[in-house]
Amino acid sequence: MAGLAFDSLRAPARWIARDRPGVAAAPAVVTATETRTAGTVRFEAASKTYLSAAGPVQALDSVDLDVPAGAIFGIIGRSGAGKSSLLRTVNRLEEPTSGRVLVDGEPIEALDTAGLVALRRRVGMIFQHFNLLSAKTVRGNVALPLKAAGLPKPEVAARVEEALRLVGLEGKADTYPSRLSGGQKQRVGIARALVSRPEILLCDEATSALDPETTLTILNLLRDINRRLGITIILITHEMSVIREICSDVVVLETGRVVETGPVWRVFGAPEHPTTRALLEPLSRGLPADLAPRLQPHPAPGTATVLAITFSGQAAPDLSALAAAAGTPVRLLQAGIERIQGHAVGRMLVAVDAAGPDAEDRLRALGGTIERIGYVAADD
């Protein structure tokens, strides 16, 4: 049973081993791989309909989705696309009106109160506005899940210390949340979510209220938690850069429906659905502003061809091969190639002198898609 696997195999040793190098480093590695069996989520035709004053609203429309163990799974979509509803069905803060959700292969809709409480201890959650209790200290906030679980005091104290160390807030245990910065508050939120040693962490716009620099440190912390503890992370965000930064997989929702899903490098490298393209627009570079007005639709004597070479997951482009394939001088006008999960993704804009179809075929053979954008004066 998954619960048993969690208790026996996800030994605290993995946490302790970091701080005491002498203690069982090898078992720590073993448990990390063993835990890959726990931490999966599967949505089976999950639908959710709200009754609002304006009539029924379909928040989720037959969502089928598999979140593998150990993934950092991003959910993107426009406002009202159902992201938040989808995330909240995992710990049953919201219940699907039809279809079901399975955590570690077990359907969760039939759980009684005790089962639900046990599930929520295996599924942590952090929030955009942190949702910390202002009347409790950092220690009190982080201890609450364990107190609610009825753990003995010494163990609560030890695990709270451990969780605070994990998020880098050792010295802040007796501080009240109102005295902390946004980033520190989110760290407390993460510590509170992790103190029950969950196998899944849900992040509801966890970095949206933070400045860009703090966002990066929180993302690094999440990635670190995912790698070191093997915790599956499911996150909602409206910042595409967050997905590109840390996610392994992504799903795009539109009016409650899954319109596109897959590894981030593939979805971001070659978005297929118009919604995905629209969402990714802020990440993509348009034509350079000075170039666009001078672009001519037809070749003329003394013009160079402007080609857009789009890479969506191939090996990193070989520039000398590119020059050789073009067979003419190649000028690089603009380039935005990124590596996402080891895949080269992005677009290069080059001007080649009088490239014929042959040259384009040769370029295409290097990988990447070639698109003729137009023509510019050769000396441009």
Binding site: N91, L93, T113, V117, A118, R120, R121, V123, G124, M125, F127, H129, N131, L132, L133, S134, A135, K136, L144, P145, K147, A148, A149, Y176, S178, R192, A193, S196, L202
Partner: protein
């Protein structure tokens, strides 16, 4: 003022303290559960019971609608049932409590309602049962507001206790009416007013201080 009058004033002061103190204690013990019920039994609350919520809400409004002096008299049979008497300090405590409880419950309800729904969601997400949410989220988060509301309740109870003379409960108000008003003793009247002002100021100051302490965290 004669020494007897000073004694009388002192006794009246103590009577007022007992009446208000005991009634305020009862108002807290009964009012907070009542407020918790009103907030959590709403549709969408953590213990939804819309029908019971409406019934209790109506009863609370009913008691709030009756002026204290009328309640004092109307409750006489009930007071006799509870205390075995209809005169004296204890006879005044019954109507005072009955009147203060719904008042305080409504004020506490406002503070409880202001607790961010996100905090309740967060508590649920970490596996808190509903009683944990009452104990660790709703009450502590609403405490500054509840304490401020309690101060208001006590001050208004000091005012209401002046009417307790009507059931022979004594107290400062009773002295002011009987000696200050009916016997034209301006000194007693002034003394009572001074003591009442001092008492109310002290209560308000203490309450404000406690709220400030809580909010400073």
């Amino acid at each position: 003022m004669s020494p007897q009058m000073i004694d009388r004033l002192w006794q009246a002061f103590l009577d007022t303290l007992v009446m208000v103190g005991v009634s305020a204690g009862i108002a807290v013990l009964a009012g907070i559960p009542l407020a918790l019920f009103l907030v959590t039994s709403e549709p969408g609350g953590i213990f939804p019971a819309p029908k019971a919520n409406r019934v209790v809400g109506t009863i609370v409004n009913g008691f709030r609608a009756v002026p204290f002096i009328v309640l004092l008299v109307a409750l006489i049979p009930f007071t006799r049932l509870v205390t075995g008497t209809t005169i004296g300090v204890w006879a005044a405590i019954v109507p005072l409590s009955v009147s203060a409880t719904p008042f305080f419950a409504r004020i506490a309800e406002v503070s409880l309602r202001e607790v961010d729904a996100g905090l309740i969601e967060a508590a649920q997400s970490i596996g808190c049962r509903r009683r944990h949410i009452l104990l660790h989220v709703l009450l502590p988060e609403a405490l500054p507001g509840i304490l401020g509301g309690f101060t208001i309740t006590v001050v208004s109870m000091i005012g209401a206790s002046a009417m307790a003379g009507a059931v022979g409960a004594g107290g400062l108000g009773d002295v002011a009416i009987r000696y200050g008003y009916q016997r034209f003793d301006t000194t007693v009247m002034a003394a009572v007013i001074a003591v009442l002002i001092a008492l109310v100021c002290l209560v308000q100051f203490t309450g404000d201080l406690a709220v400030r302490r809580l909010r400073a965290r």
